[in-house]
């Protein structure tokens, strides 16, 4: 089922910058969509249209068969939660607990419901013991997790994240990606994520859309999208490291590889198969 339908979306900033030049994309319920693009390609601008924070100059965004322009902001925000790039822009209450409770309180829930939602959300991001801590005493990675918790506590159907892992150390990246994966696969939340780093996308996303100069230039599964490094380089992007290696092996060293593996697991399989193939050849030279 199509959850969000974006048609011919154009956006102009007040100073005349046309940041979106006609974007078309459908988001399917329950999918994990990654939007990939260089600095300034329009990712953030597009995301802000998904929950009506920005208004289209022309074109339309349809959420659950209802045009966003015609929905009440409250209804949209109830369905769509957004995590911004900089956690400092998002955390505004003095303590962790209060911040996570900020959203649910505004939903006019009962006190018990609020408390249970806050607890559950903190549980999910593994930050329960930090409930009473002051926001400014958190590390960067921790504040990022609280941002996610704050949105989760509102129980959105769709979760939008703008570069959720920039500035995090590898461990932090892993944790955030694990949380997202769980939310998507276990809880069925639709996830849309914008990023300009290629290495974490293939691991998780069901589908990748590549943006450039305000339009979506390519769309498909990670395997489809990451086939050609030259094309990506034209968009200021690159293949994931592993895929780069595989491409070099295929093109320069003439390894017989069909599709480029994107993850370490896949590459391991491919390469070990190759070597084993050769082993076979070694065992029975007559056949070849």
């Amino acid at each position: 089922m199509i959850k969000i339908k974006v048609e011919n979306l154009i956006h102009k900033y007040p100073d005349g910058t046309q940041a979106l030049n006609g974007v078309n994309i459908d988001v399917v319920e329950g999918e994990f969509l990654a939007i990939l693009g260089a600095n300034g390609s329009g990712k953030t601008t597009l995301l802000k249209h998904f929950n009506g924070l920005l208004k289209p100059a022309s074109g339309s965004v349809v959420l659950d068969n209802k045009e966003l322009n015609k929905s009440k902001p409250g209804d949209i925000f109830r369905k769509v939660g957004m995590v911004f790039q900089d956690p400092n822009d998002q955390l505004i209450a003095p303590t962790v607990e209060e911040d996570v409770a900020f959203g649910p309180t505004n939903l006019n829930l009962s006190y018990d419901e609020i408390v249970s939602r806050v607890n559950n959300a903190l549980e999910l991001v593994k930050m329960k013991e930090f409930a009473k801590k002051a926001i400014h005493a958190l590390s960067y990675g921790q504040s990022k997790r609280i941002c996610i918790a704050g949105i989760l506590a509102m129980k959105p159907e769709i979760l939008i994240l703008d570069e959720p892992t920039s500035g995090l150390d590898p461990e932090g990246v892993k944790i955030v990606m694990k949380i997202l994966n769980e939310l998507n696969k276990k809880h069925g939340i639709t996830i849309i994520l914008a990023t300009n780093s290629v290495d974490l996308v293939p691991v998780l996303a069901d589908r990748v859309a590549i943006m450039d100069k305000g339009i979506i230039v390519q769309e498909g599964t990670p395997e489809d999208v990451f086939t050609d490094s030259r094309k990506l380089e034209g968009l200021m992007l690159e293949l994931p490291q592993i895929a780069q290696l595989m491409e070099v092996l295929r093109d320069k060293e003439k390894f017989p590889i069909n599709s480029l593996s994107l993850t370490i697991g896949q590459a391991r399989q491919d390469l070990s198969q190759l070597i084993r193939l050769e082993d076979n050849a070694f065992v029975s030279p007559e056949i070849s």
Partner: protein, 261 residues
């Protein structure tokens, strides 16, 4: 906030055209004298002349009517307001009268005429200001201010305000979006409270930023000296020529007004 961003942008001043190329001191001289003539004037001709000439100059560098209109709206409302006040308080000949909630109001002709003069002065003056702001960047104005021996400290504070204004506006907007996306603006009281939090965050951030800016300054050799470094180029012949012609134009205008009206 939207409207503010719309208007506070100074990208017009960063473009290259014949008006932005004129020496900033020449422009300031012209605008300054013109503003003084504008408020000294006794009839609506001079303000209208300033209004029209500035408008034409601005059109010559392709400033759109929308941009001008947006900035003119509020001052012009103000002009109407002033016209009403003058009409209600000055002169004898009654044009209109009535009472509002038992309060007697009389609009008078002479007052309205004075009001009309003020209205045109507003239009002329604001257009002159716009002529300056659409063609001159703040940093050029800072340079000119230094040349005019305005205290260095003031110029430095202004350059800081200008430097960080856009950054803070942007951050505030993001914070507002995030509050909004968590329903921080659903009732009046929540709105006010959200604004309060926002104001608090803004103060904290600006102070943290000030600390790190200072650290950065120290590590770039700052020891209490100057912050701004670029100098003005000396005035050249061309500048004097424009200066002279501007001066003569304005003098003629002034003279005309003295003898003709």
């Amino acid at each position: 906030m939207e409207i503010l961003k719309h208007v506070v942008m100074d990208h017009f001043a960063h473009r290259n055209n014949w008006l932005t190329d004129i020496e900033v001191r020449v422009k300031l001289f012209y605008i300054g004298i013109a503003l003084i003539l504008n408020i000294l004037s006794h009839d609506i001709i001079i303000p209208l002349v300033f209004f029209v000439t500035s408008l034409i100059l601005l059109m010559s560098i392709k400033v759109s009517f929308v941009n001008l209109g947006l900035r003119m709206i509020m001052p012009l409302f103000f002009g109407v307001f002033i016209m009403l006040i003058m009409g209600l308080h000055k002169g004898e000949t009654t044009v209109l009268s009535g009472s509002l909630l038992g309060y007697k109001l009389v609009l008078k002709k002479e007052g309205l005429l004075i009001g009309l003069l003020l209205f045109t002065k507003v239009a002329g003056g604001v257009m002159l200001l716009l002529l300056l702001s659409f063609t001159t960047t703040i940093s050029k104005i800072c340079m000119a201010a230094r040349w005019m021996k305005i205290p260095e400290t003031l110029i430095e504070v202004m350059s800081f305000v200008y430097r960080y204004l856009f950054l803070l506006i942007e951050e505030t907007e993001t914070m507002m979006s995030s509050q909004r996306s968590r329903l921080g603006y659903v009732t009046w009281f929540k709105t006010i409270k959200s604004f309060g939090n926002l104001g608090g965050v803004l103060i904290i951030r600006s102070i943290i930023r000030a600390e790190s800016a200072h650290t950065a300054m120290i590590s770039r050799g700052y020891d209490g000296g100057r912050v701004l470094s670029i100098r003005l180029t000396p005035l050249v012949k061309n500048d004097y020529a424009i200066l002279l012609s501007c001066g003569m134009l304005l003098a003629t205008l002034f003279y005309l007004e003295m003898i003709c009206f």
